[in-house]
């Protein structure tokens, strides 16, 4: 499944990132790499973007960006 489908309050482990590009490089630099645990904290009032907790801090991602991240349920 992708990070987009993870429900609020749930945690998951990243297995792979999407295709090469500026967004992916950025996401990886921000700490979202294979093997890391990500917890979905909330969704913005209008439905997008989402806020996740990773490596001890809060990161926001648009759903289109979260879609690129393949994860496994914890």
């Amino acid at each position: 499944m992708t990070l987009k489908e993870v429900k609020i309050g749930e945690s998951c482990v990243v297995t792979s990132l999407g295709k090469k590009g500026v967004a992916r490089r950025r996401i990886m630099e921000m700490g979202v790499t294979p093997g890391v645990t990500v917890k979905v904290i909330k969704v913005a009032p209008f439905g997008d973007p989402i806020e996740v907790n990773v490596r001890g801090y809060e990161l926001s991602l648009r759903k289109s960006e979260a879609e690129q991240i393949i994860v496994e349920k914890v």
């Binding site: 090469k20 913005a44 997008d48 001890g56 809060e58 990161l59 926001s60």
Partner: protein, 730 residues
């Protein structure tokens, strides 16, 4: 010999707090050449031979945005004597990513772990010695806000700078990558020795900027090496590198950092966040905060500090100060035109800028507070979805909202938009948010031409017209402007923090200084220019005016000036909009570019005569005449004061301007042409102050002219549509 220290670290890590602590007032904010990024340099308060440079906050050294490129170019090319890498102790892993990259640049380094107090709250403890051993670099704890540990930090940094020791290379890559790096080094032969390793790594990371520095002949070879490396790294060596770095980080952190619990603990900050971004509460809370901000800055209630400061400054400037200057000049025997140049030109022009500053200062201070607390990031987070629909991003919201107060700080606020295209579009449509100065124009027309019952709705209509055109423009410009980079919203939502008063003040002051100088020059120059055009004509230079005027001055009335002639020349442009039969509206539009509310004063000058002003005075009670200080020493109404009082009433819409209703050939308007005129002024190029701000933030005149061109075109088309379509129905 001076020592150069560069501060590097993630955004929100307290780097700037440290910088402010180190340099105090001895700092200077300039611009990195070619980009609108602040360059902050200063001198260490305790040792004048130590120079400190605050690099832009970055998460890495890959070319994501101008900030990253500036930071890395400075470290790699300028090679400061020592880099102090500030790390936010509450998110050590992510912060260490930048650290590893700085180590790769082989510059002497010291690490400062900041936010010790917050770390305690989160149950995080760091073994500084262990961490230091693992990285081969001194690691010291500090609390930048309080200054704790800072002296020890600088001492350590200076020792490192003196020894000029390069941090050890860390072996965190695998065989495949190391082999590829070996192969790349000879290709970089000829490049600066210190930069080779770093560049080789960047090449493997598909860094466009570094790749461009490779001579074309060698590029094929480089690509081949990268391809091989890719194959051996599951198809993606760039991802592998990032992955290996974080694996290394995870290892170090496991051995030198203790967390009370691996699970996510909810902190006070999280609790606040729940409320502020709550599905139901987020927008109302935001509305209240924005309302308060506007009230404090522009409002006239008891919390209206901005307006109060402005009136004090203006009263002083327009009153005692101007009088003093003019009297002084008169005593020196200055000619009438010179007095006018100073009075109506220079002092009025400078006054325009100065009257701005108090409110902008307040607005910026408030914004700095919101930004430093971390709330702004949440606002962008909440608004993103809606703004995406209009081709913008959540971060566009604040500048656009501020535009309702004043475009100048609004445009400056657009700096937070990292994506170039987002920033440009946002700035181009910000002036469509009807600013405070345009309101008197509407009130003047509404007061004269519209029935009482339609006033509020007409006002709303104008404001919504602006919003509607902005939305449409956003969508259109999104399609028209090409961009290589896609807009992202991969953003850290920082902890909520209470900003220190010092940092807020410094933050706000920097912004004002920048504006005052650059935009100020534009406003000043244009005021003088328009003053000249409005006060002179041919007769000024061939002696005629001197003959005709009672006081022998060479000035003329606005009716006969160059400006009026120019108005006559260009009025034809406005004919399809319904107000091009006479030169007066055109002149009004032009004077509006100094300050939009000037249009009212100009119209008053061009359309009102003594009978109108007298009629207004007649409507005032004796008490009101006293209050408005309209009487001179002989208890007769002073004509200048009366004219001013009339102008003020006109700006509030409580008196009408009869000639405004006159026939079109004499510059009169009807309800339809009033609409097209208001629409035109709402949408056309904003005042010169805003143009100055635009120029500063867009960076080049070319882009500024593009923006202005777009605004003028939009104004013309919309006014045209209003007039022509309106005509069909009426």
């Amino acid at each position: 010999m001076s020592i150069k220290i560069a501060l590097a670290g993630n955004p929100n890590c307290g780097k700037t707090t440290l910088f402010n602590y180190l340099t105090g007032a001895k700092q200077h904010v300039g611009n990195w050449p070619g980009v609108t990024v602040d360059k902050k340099e200063g001198t260490y308060r305790k040792n004048k031979s130590v120079k400190v440079l605050d690099l832009p906050g970055t998460y890495s050294l890959s070319p994501y945005s101008a900030e990253e490129i500036i930071a890395r170019d400075y470290i790699v090319k300028e090679r400061p004597d020592v880099v102090i890498n500030i790390i936010d102790g509450t998110s050590i892993e992510r912060n260490l990513y930048l650290t590893l990259q700085i180590i790769e640049t082989k510059v002497p380094m010291v690490i400062a772990v900041n936010m010790e107090d917050e770390m305690k709250l989160k149950g995080i403890t760091v073994d500084y010695d262990k961490l230091s051993k693992k990285l081969g670099i001194p690691v010291l704890p500090i609390i930048a806000r309080k200054g704790t540990g800072v002296i020890e930090l600088i001492d350590a940094a200076l020792v490192v700078a003196e020894k000029a020791g390069i941090p050890n290379e860390l072996s965190l890559f695998d065989e495949n990558i190391n082999a590829a790096l070996e192969k790349l080094l000879p290709i970089l032969h000829g490049q600066n020795e210190n930069e080779k390793t770093w560049k080789a790594i960047k090449l493997l990371e598909s860094d466009e900027v570094v790749l461009a520095t490779i001579p074309a002949a060698a590029r094929e070879k480089v690509k081949a090496i990268i391809d091989t490396a890719d194959k051996n790294a599951d198809g993606d060596v760039e991802a592998k590198i990032a992955d290996l770095r974080y694996q290394y980080i995870a290892k170090i952190v496991k051995e030198s950092v203790k967390k009370k619990s691996e699970k996510h603990i909810e902190t006070v900050s999280d609790k606040w966040d729940k409320i502020l971004t709550n599905r139901i509460l987020a927008l109302p809370i935001f509305a209240v905060i924005m309302f308060l901000m506007f009230e404090i800055t522009f409002g006239s209630s008891f919390i209206g500090i901005g307006a109060w400061l402005q009136s004090i400054v203006c009263d002083f400037w327009d009153g005692p100060f101007t009088e003093a200057v003019l009297t002084g000049l008169e005593n020196l025997g200055a000619a009438t035109w010179l007095l006018s140049l100073f009075g109506d030109g220079i002092l009025a022009g400078l006054g325009g800028i100065i009257s701005f500053l108090p409110q902008i200062l307040i607005l910026f201070l408030l914004l700095s507070v919101l930004e430093d607390t971390g709330y702004m990031a949440r606002v962008a987070f909440v608004m993103d979805r809606i703004f995406r629909k209009f081709g913008l991003t959540g971060k566009s919201f604040i500048p656009l909202l501020m535009g309702f107060g004043c475009s100048v700080p609004a445009l400056m606020a657009a700096r937070t938009l990292e994506n170039d295209k987002d920033r440009r579009i946002t700035m181009m449509i910000t002036p469509f948010m009807s600013c405070g100065a345009k309101l008197p124009i509407y009130l003047m027309f509404i007061g004269t031409l519209f029935d009482e019952k339609y006033r509020t709705i007409t006002l709303f209509g104008v404001y919504f017209l602006g919003i509607g055109v902005a939305i449409l423009s956003g969508i259109i410009l999104n399609k028209l402007i090409k961009s290589d980079s896609v807009s992202h919203f991969i953003m850290e939502l920082p902890e909520y923090r209470l900003p220190t008063i010092k940092s807020v003040l410094i933050h706000g002051w920097e912004k004002i200084k920048g504006f005052a100088v650059k935009a100020g020059t534009v406003i000043f120059a244009s005021t003088i220019l328009i003053w000249f055009l409005a006060s002179f004509n041919v007769g000024s230079f061939n002696g005629e005016n001197a003959k005709i005027n009672d006081d022998g001055s060479i000035l003329c009335e606005m009716d006969d000036s160059f400006l009026a002639s120019a108005g006559n020349g260009v009025k034809v442009i406005f004919m399809p909009l319904g107000f091009g039969d006479n030169w007066r509206p055109a002149v009004g539009v032009v004077t509006g570019w100094i300050a939009k509310e000037n249009i009212v004063a100009t119209f008053s000058q061009l359309y009102a005569d003594e009978t109108v002003i007298d009629a207004y005075i007649d409507t005032l009670t004796e008490k009101e005449i006293q209050e408005k200080e309209l009487l001179d020493d002989n208890d007769k109404v002073d004509p200048d004061a009366a004219a001013e009082a009339y102008d003020e009433a006109l700006m509030e819409g409580v008196v009408d301007l009869p000639a405004l209703k006159g026939p079109r050939e004499e510059g009169g308007f009807d309800r339809l042409t009033a609409w097209s005129f208001m629409a035109f002024n709402l949408l056309c190029m904003p005042c010169f102050a805003a143009v100055g701000a635009m120029r500063r933030e867009l960076g080049t005149w070319r882009r500024t002219l593009q923006a202005i061109g777009f605004q003028m075109l939009t104004a013309w088309i919309v006014a045209f549509l209003i007039f022509q379509i309106g005509n069909l129905f009426l």
